[in-house]
Symmetry: C2
Subunit: 615 residues, 2 copies
């Protein structure tokens, strides 16, 4: 019987199963627990998955009953009802997963003051319409804005330069007449009325960091800057390609609908997050008047529906660099009718608005110290500040840190080994959620390498050496067992292979080489660094000592390293409320010096050195 390869997304777990295996069983064998309330009878519909690639058995009668035409057209199946007939890729929606994934939404809280707000709300009372006062509603509002008390804000702005958003203005006439001629007028950038609400209704904004893998969303009170709710989700585009390049390829391969599909999927996810946050914070859609959305250049372009072909071909170019504001309705994002989305500037094809947001969030603007800041992810962006100058570069670290291309790898989900300690013959592991081990995630592999190295089991070039009860095989077939089959959930060993070590070497080597190249361009040594800042989800969860031990980051004093969490999310929240912070972002993007590593004269040498497992 033939064996087929199953790829379970967005969790990133892979497994081989014999032809005809029931899909619900296959997921269980892979250690991925689906909700299946009825125990596989097919009637509860809780084990729904979306088939993205490959062949399953035909629809069962039960499925024909349970799934609507639309759901079937969207590729939905009930896992308990189908068998595997080829290599397949399926996407498991969050509601079908019994345990949630870990999502990085924490970051340094926005603890800052600002002078000039993006959004200002005015409660206005106007004269009722009579036969002797027939001014149109909008004229009444503009007149009231003109005569508003100077202490509330920006009385210097001529109200004649204020325009009404064509959708927002639709609510003016009924609101005025239902609220005794009193309304709250929401002004954006002192220029545009983007919402009209009943008096004293609070206004909110949405900050989002769209990562290649994960999405973090924050609902923010626009007056205080306080985050009132936050949540995360997987980026559903994973199902169309793990990394940026494969998603661009997917779009290029489907010129008619590829871009629209990937854009639609992320917007759908954001709209779900908006509903979730709104319910939690008891906020209505009409109150969410502004959004700041950051992501790498590809995420930015796909979100905005911009062409990405040129991003995938050398010299890998962004088509839009400058910050742009778009109407939420133009992309189908469900904010207030007149709501606006601000997309901060991109620096280059692979240094996007998320890096700019990270710098804003970490306050890395006009810094006096010498600092390197790393945004570690599938793609890693780096910035170096030294004597008033600012260089940036990007390096393709690949998805190994996300558990991809790792034999027993998986994303940071329940059951993933995330910490490893070797104590003599004993190997201690910690899994996410303290669940039985299913696989190993990026920070777990990093730990395992650092611990093997410390135990003398790995050479600087990444080959296994020496002996240990958990080390078996030799040469390229060598592997280190982290969790034996008897203790794992899948009934198979959870291992780290020679190849896994190499994958991580390639990834960490790229990060290190990027940092070293920037130091080289600036003409300084690592020891001169006052701070090494690690941002982003992976940069937060990794064990810093392991990262230092395997030489992922430039070598400096231990106290100078800092893990700052999702600073891009923090930066997005700052830009959401503050005009100064947007100006800072725009200045950063304009003044930064982009370093093209492909053009650096000794980069090859720097990179081969960076591959070595050494501090």
């Amino acid at each position: 019987m033939q064996t087929f390869h199953l790829d379970l997304q967005p969790i990133g777990k892979r497994i081989d199963v014999p032809e005809g295996t029931n899909l619900l069983d296959a997921c269980q064998q892979a250690g991925v627990e689906l909700v299946a309330v009825c125990g596989g009878a097919g009637v509860c519909g809780t084990c729904r998955v979306r088939l993205l690639k490959g062949k399953l058995t035909d629809y069962s009668m039960t499925e024909l009953d349970e799934l609507s035409d639309e759901e079937r057209a969207a590729g939905l199946r009930q896992a308990c009802q189908v068998e595997v007939l080829s290599d397949i890729v399926i996407e498991i929606p969050p509601e079908s997963l019994s345990a949630p994934q870990r999502l990085s939404i924490e970051g340094r809280e926005a603890d800052f003051e600002w002078e000039r707000s993006i959004i200002e709300a005015y409660d206005l009372k106007v004269e009722p319409a009579t036969l002797t006062d027939l001014r149109p509603d909008t004229t009444r509002i503009l007149d009231a804005l003109k005569s508003r008390p100077t202490e509330v804000g920006f009385a210097t702005v001529a109200a004649t330069s204020v325009a009404f958003d064509s959708e927002a203005v639709k609510s003016l006439a009924p609101l005025l007449r239902n609220n005794d001629w009193r309304v709250r007028v929401v002004l954006r950038n002192e220029r545009e009325v983007v919402a009209i609400l009943p008096p004293e209704r609070r206004v909110y904004g949405l900050a989002v960091d769209i990562g290649t893998t994960k999405v973090a969303a924050y609902l923010v009170d626009m007056e205080t800057g306080e985050t009132v709710a936050k949540s995360g989700a997987m980026n559903p585009q994973i199902a169309y390609g793990e990394d940026i390049i494969s998603r661009i390829r997917c779009i290029n391969d489907h010129p008619n609908d590829g871009l629209k599909t990937l854009q639609g999927r992320i917007i759908e996810t954001l709209n779900n997050l908006i509903v979730e946050l709104s319910v939690e914070a008891k906020v209505k859609r009409e109150q969410i008047v502004e959004a700041v959305i950051v992501g790498n250049t590809a995420m930015h372009h796909i979100f905005a529906g911009l062409p990405v072909k040129q991003l995938g071909d050398s010299p890998y170019m962004a088509t839009v660099g400058e910050a742009i504001s778009i109407k939420a309705r133009d992309v189908g994002l469900k904010l207030a009718a007149g709501g606006t989305v601000y997309l901060p500037p991109n620096i280059a094809g692979f240094v996007g608005a998320d890096h700019v947001a990270m710098l804003v969030g970490a306050g890395l603007f006009k810094v006096d110290e010498t600092i390197v800041a790393l945004d570690i992810g599938t793609n890693t962006e780096l910035s170096l500040f030294h004597k008033g100058r600012h260089w940036t570069c990007s390096c393709p670290s690949g998805p190994a840190f996300e558990g991809a291309h790792i034999e027993d790898g998986m994303r940071a989900a329940p059951g993933a080994v995330e910490r490893v300690r070797i104590e003599g013959d004993e190997v201690k592991v910690h899994t996410i959620g303290n669940a039985d081990a299913v696989g190993i995630c990026g920070s777990g592999v990093l730990d395992a390498i650092a611990e093997c190295q410390k135990a003398g089991l790995l050479t600087p070039k990444g080959g296994f050496t020496g002996t240990h009860p958990r080390l078996r095989g030799s040469g390229s077939a060598a592997e280190f067992v982290l969790v034996p089959a008897s203790k794992s959930k899948t009934g198979r060993d959870v291992r780290m292979t020679r190849k896994d070590v190499n994958e991580i070497q390639l990834a960490k080597g790229a990060v290190r080489a990027g940092a070293e190249a920037l130091l080289d361009v600036a003409g300084i040594k690592a020891a001169e660094l006052d701070q090494v800042i690690l941002a982003g989800a992976f940069g937060t969860y990794l064990d810093l000592d392991s990262a230092i031990a395997i030489g992922m980051v430039p070598r400096t004093e231990r106290s100078r390293y800092q893990q700052i969490g999702n600073a891009a999310g923090t930066g997005a929240r700052r830009m959401l409320v503050s005009r100064e912070q947007r100006e800072i972002a725009e200045t950063i993007a304009r003044d930064v010096e982009f370093v093209e590593l492909a053009k650096h004269p000794t980069f090859t040498k720097i990179y081969s050195q960076a591959l070595l497992l050494q501090g």
Copy 2:
């Protein structure tokens, strides 16, 4: 057997038929010729009509074959296949009518110079992207705009203040790469890139006058201001109400979808006109980058999807007064992806942007002479200029001039009596298209009244008097036969009744009273008027001498009257290309003094005087 009332729109012809009459036959009896290529066999589908109100027989097998689900959902029927089972209202689409209606699209051609254009197009050549020049596409364009030669336009504008429309920018990356890094960039108001085209592609604009009854559309070369194509259509909203008040009532009665439906119908008509004009002028949609749309306040609000409830209740208020620019895509208008629609300002609930456009088109700004300008239609707007001041008012002249509420009335379509001359016992008529008489349109009734009056057959109060072979009956039952049954197409007399005379008296009385009230406010006499300007479709087609004779317009020297055609269309075309003309429109709306006739102390007296049939 019962008799039912058929209302055939948008042609405005009404007829009573016995229950069970075939609808195609009924239309023929009413003198309205439908296309019916197969002679009623049901197979050609050319006699399609839309049922708006009332009951017809069920779908025939033939109809079930010929009409799609969507078409049936939209109310389409084949007239030859159905019988009348109640009072009904049907809409006859233009393609089902064998003879086209006469539409007013002529107007004084835009023969004027302007300094500052709304739209400027630049052919730019930028440096190709290389590994040493990684500026994003947008940055290349902004840099090129900054360094563009001063003689082409507005070199004083900082390119940093230029923003890209989020839809327009989507074409930048592929166009740059397919045209050897050369593109045409279309800048609006020196601030926003609204289109990106292949080099040297010409750009066009659309000017539209949405009348309550008719729509006129013009395609204009944005560089030269030349009109390259023009066309007209009936306003499909007629089917939902002949006048503004009944359409507002229809919207109020259908709070869920009324506004959307009426908005959708006019947008659909405009999109069809855009296709028609584009084909004629060999222009692509992407080249139409700007539109100016004028209409009365209700047409303006419905087009923009603004609430109209407050327009229908005293004190009849516009919700939006100021000029607004909206994205064409926000209302579903099919211009270039980034195309903008400029809606000039409204003055009041019943003095809209079309009146402003008429004044702009007629050059009535900062005039030294004493002038009254009348926009005669279902609603009539008037402006009086005297010694640097400008007053305006509106009066509900009603749809009688459109042939509604007239016994044998109809709109200006083939077969409508439009000119009448009484020469002794003989009555000479002229019909539109020289067709056999079907009914009588507004200008025909006006003529008939003036001629009867001249022949001594009508008293100033509107009663028939004296004798004439064509005059029969007496008192309120009196009527004057214009075309005897033997010579008409319907086989029935085409008459003017005592009631018809009264309807026209009410309508012309309203117009005259409005003009007299303005003269009274200004403290001048009609004899002091240097000019009396008649604009609009009806103001163009009516016989001026008849209008003077029955006292529709203030009395002054014959040489001072002027009929100027669709000046609102001319004004829209001027505003389409010129920034000065938009500023003029905005200044007019800001500075005009609106006169509320309901508040004028002696208006009742003025009105009762104005009802009399005398010069």
